[in-house]
């Protein structure tokens, strides 16, 4: 029942920050879709917009923290080169590349994850700014609201690819 400092950072990066972003997407999407409802009252729209502004900014900050901790704290442990004769399980990249059956996790999974993940915070920040600047006008402007939903969904998909491969790779070659 003890986690190493590296495992704790992997948990903070993937299971806390990354998972929070992915779970919050459903709530944000529901708010954005319902914002266009013709049965919404002025007070209802104002309340929904306040929640959306708070939620999208939290998601943007969480997305930045996820990619920064992933790239600058966890990833160096993943890609560290194993010295000759070292136990490869301590060097996930070398471990995966040591067998043809696991090399694809690095060549496809990690290579995709480490790059595509960075699209999520950029797009999530754009969404937070759009929601903040447009505010209650989003309820009446279908074109802008749909654009926000599309960008929000692309940010989610980028984060989902990164999260999914992160989980698979950590199963095949955990950061210990």
């Amino acid at each position: 029942m003890i986690l190493t400092p590296r495992e704790i950072w992997a948990v903070i990066h993937g299971m806390m920050l990354g998972a929070l972003f992915l779970l919050a997407y459903a709530g944000g999407l529901a708010e954005l879709i319902n914002l266009g409802s013709k049965w919404s009252t002025e007070a209802g729209i104002a309340s929904r917009v306040r929640r959306l502004i708070t939620g999208t900014w939290i998601m943007a900050v969480v997305a930045w923290l996820t990619v920064i901790t992933g790239t600058y704290i966890v990833y160096p442990w993943y890609r560290a080169k194993a010295p000759a004769g070292a136990e490869l399980t301590m060097y996930p990249r070398n471990f995966l590349l040591s067998k043809p059956t696991t090399a694809g996790w690095h060549h496809f999974g990690m290579e995709w994850k480490e790059h595509v993940a960075w699209l999520a915070p950029i797009l999530a920040t754009a969404v937070a700014i759009m929601v903040t600047k447009y505010g209650a006008k989003l309820a009446k402007d279908d074109e802008v609201r749909k654009a926000v939903i599309v960008l929000f969904t692309i940010a989610f998909c980028a984060a989902a690819v990164a999260g999914l491969f992160g989980a698979f790779i950590n199963k095949a070659a955990p950061i210990l």
Binding site: P76, W118, L119, L123, E143, A147, V150, I154
Partner: protein, 107 residues
């Protein structure tokens, strides 16, 4: 459309287009680093992270610079939201393509 253009939508259009440019630059840097070892070496800003550090820092800087430029350009004037949204989608799609391993590993 006229009604939307009458609104000051400049700040949201600037944020949206800048995000598209950030995505495109990330895809471009990923492809360039893969195609050329020299460029990969230049992008190695921080050794423990390797070229990924440079690719992401350059993309974030490009995004922020684009945001500042477009933000100033459209601060007071409305822009054609529909047209710029389509351009943004193309830029994001190119960014997604550039960060897809099957594509950039074929460089």
């Amino acid at each position: 459309m006229m009604n939307q253009q009458a609104e000051n939508n400049g700040p949201i259009v600037a944020a949206m287009l800048a995000a598209g440019i950030g995505c495109l630059v990330l895809g471009l840097m990923t492809c360039l680093a893969e195609a050329s070892k020299a460029i990969g070496g230049i992008l190695n800003f921080y050794d423990p992270v390797g070229p990924l550090s440079g690719k992401t820092i350059v993309a974030v800087v490009a995004w922020l610079v684009a945001w500042a430029i477009f933000g100033a350009k459209w601060k007071e004037q409305p822009a054609d939201f529909g047209k710029i949204f389509k351009v943004t989608l193309v830029l994001v799609a190119l960014g997604l393509l550039g960060t897809f391993p099957v594509f950039f590993q074929a460089m």
